[in-house]
Amino acid sequence: MNLSTKAKRLIAAGVVLVGVILFITFRYLATPAPPAVSVPPSVQLVESRLVGRKEGQRQWEIVSRMVLQEGDVVTLSELEEMIVFQDGEPYLSIDTPRAQWQRKQEILHLHGPVLVEGKEGFQLESDFLEWQGRTNMLSSPGPVRIIWRGMEITASEMAMDTEEGVVHLKRDVEIRDEGLVWKLEEVVYNLDAESMDFYGNVLMEEEAGSD
């Protein structure tokens, strides 16, 4: 096929144009496909017994009907049993409907109503508790009620160092003990020594109706 010089130039120009269009399209406009990322699927377990260990020692043990792991967060719901250990021995028993364990940070959130029970009739009630595994601190940023050795303690805020056995109670602290009611601003209670350090103003009255 004989093509005129003009036709040849037109074809050559067309080829160049198509080439330019294709180059622009693929170089600048087309987005390359993202590289393949490994996404671990969520793991859901049913009727599980989980054991947390630190340096080989049991820290906690949980029996839960539902365990959902998403990344580093483990959500436990329909909890049947939760036990916190100290020196390998059961220390606290926790009754809570839902808990979240942030594995890397070693933080356990307990969503209420939470009831913590320990030795010698120890009871602690709160709507929300945070347990920090690294510092052994159990804290309630909201109202808390504690029963301990015949005393009833309420406060608007609490932080307990479970290793040292020291409880910090803040704001609107009220202690009922042997017919006496103590109203305080802040108390640091050493559970083992059975001593309380008071801060701020103090009011102590006899409880109405006590002998």
Binding site: E186, A193, E194, S195, Y199, G200, N201, M204, E205
Partner: protein, 189 residues
């Protein structure tokens, strides 16, 4: 004059007796510590030993106030031993009941012994007179109030001074021990 003196001490002893009686029966008491910043240490309650102690002497304007029945004791340092029903105020304590005021360096109440004791710069003020002494002990069992050490009773029209002075409530009896010296203004308008 003696009649006036008897009336005064009867009044004072009645008040002390009321204080003692309130200790013997179940007290409806109240303890308040006021004027303390929220972050300042106020006191400590050792539950095992049954001892509550408070010290606000380093906090300006802070006070410890104990009220039972109609008696109020105010001070800045105190200790309360709940097991023994013992209370001590140190560093300038003041006890008031109606128009009766007792101030002393220390005021102690021994609940199990029904005894009130004040020591150091004891001053008892009533409407009629002021008594100064080094020590005052009121014992509910024996019904006697003993003022000892540089006792001085100041009335509007005179003073009595001595070393030991005992008052028995039911007997309406005053006993002056050792040398007592009186000085009275006998002028009448």
């Amino acid at each position: 004059m003696i009649k006036k003196l008897i009336i005064f001490f009867l009044f004072a002893l009645l008040l002390l007796a009321a204080l003692g009686a309130s200790g013997a029966e179940k007290q409806s008491g109240k303890l308040e510590i006021t004027g303390v910043p929220a972050d300042a240490a106020t006191g400590r309650y050792d539950r095992e030993a049954g001892v509550f102690s408070a010290d606000v002497s380093g906090i300006e304007g802070a006070l410890i106030r104990v009220t039972f029945e109609e008696v109020t004791i105010v001070g800045q340092i105190m200790e309360w031993r709940t097991e023994d029903d013992y209370l001590i105020f140190t560093s300038g304590a003041e006890l008031t009941k109606e128009d009766f005021t007792l101030t002393a360096d220390t005021v102690e109440y021994f609940g199990s012994e029904n005894r009130l004791q004040a020591a150091g710069n004891v001053v008892v003020v009533t409407e009629d007179a002021t008594v100064y002494s080094d020590q005052l002990v009121y014992n509910e069992e024996t019904d006697e109030a003993v003022f000892t050490g540089q006792v001085k009773v100041a009335f509007e029209d005179g003073t009595l001074e001595g070393e030991r002075f005992v008052m028995f409530l039911e007997k309406n009896e005053l006993q002056f021990f050792g040398a007592f010296q009186g000085l009275f203004n006998t002028e009448r308008e």
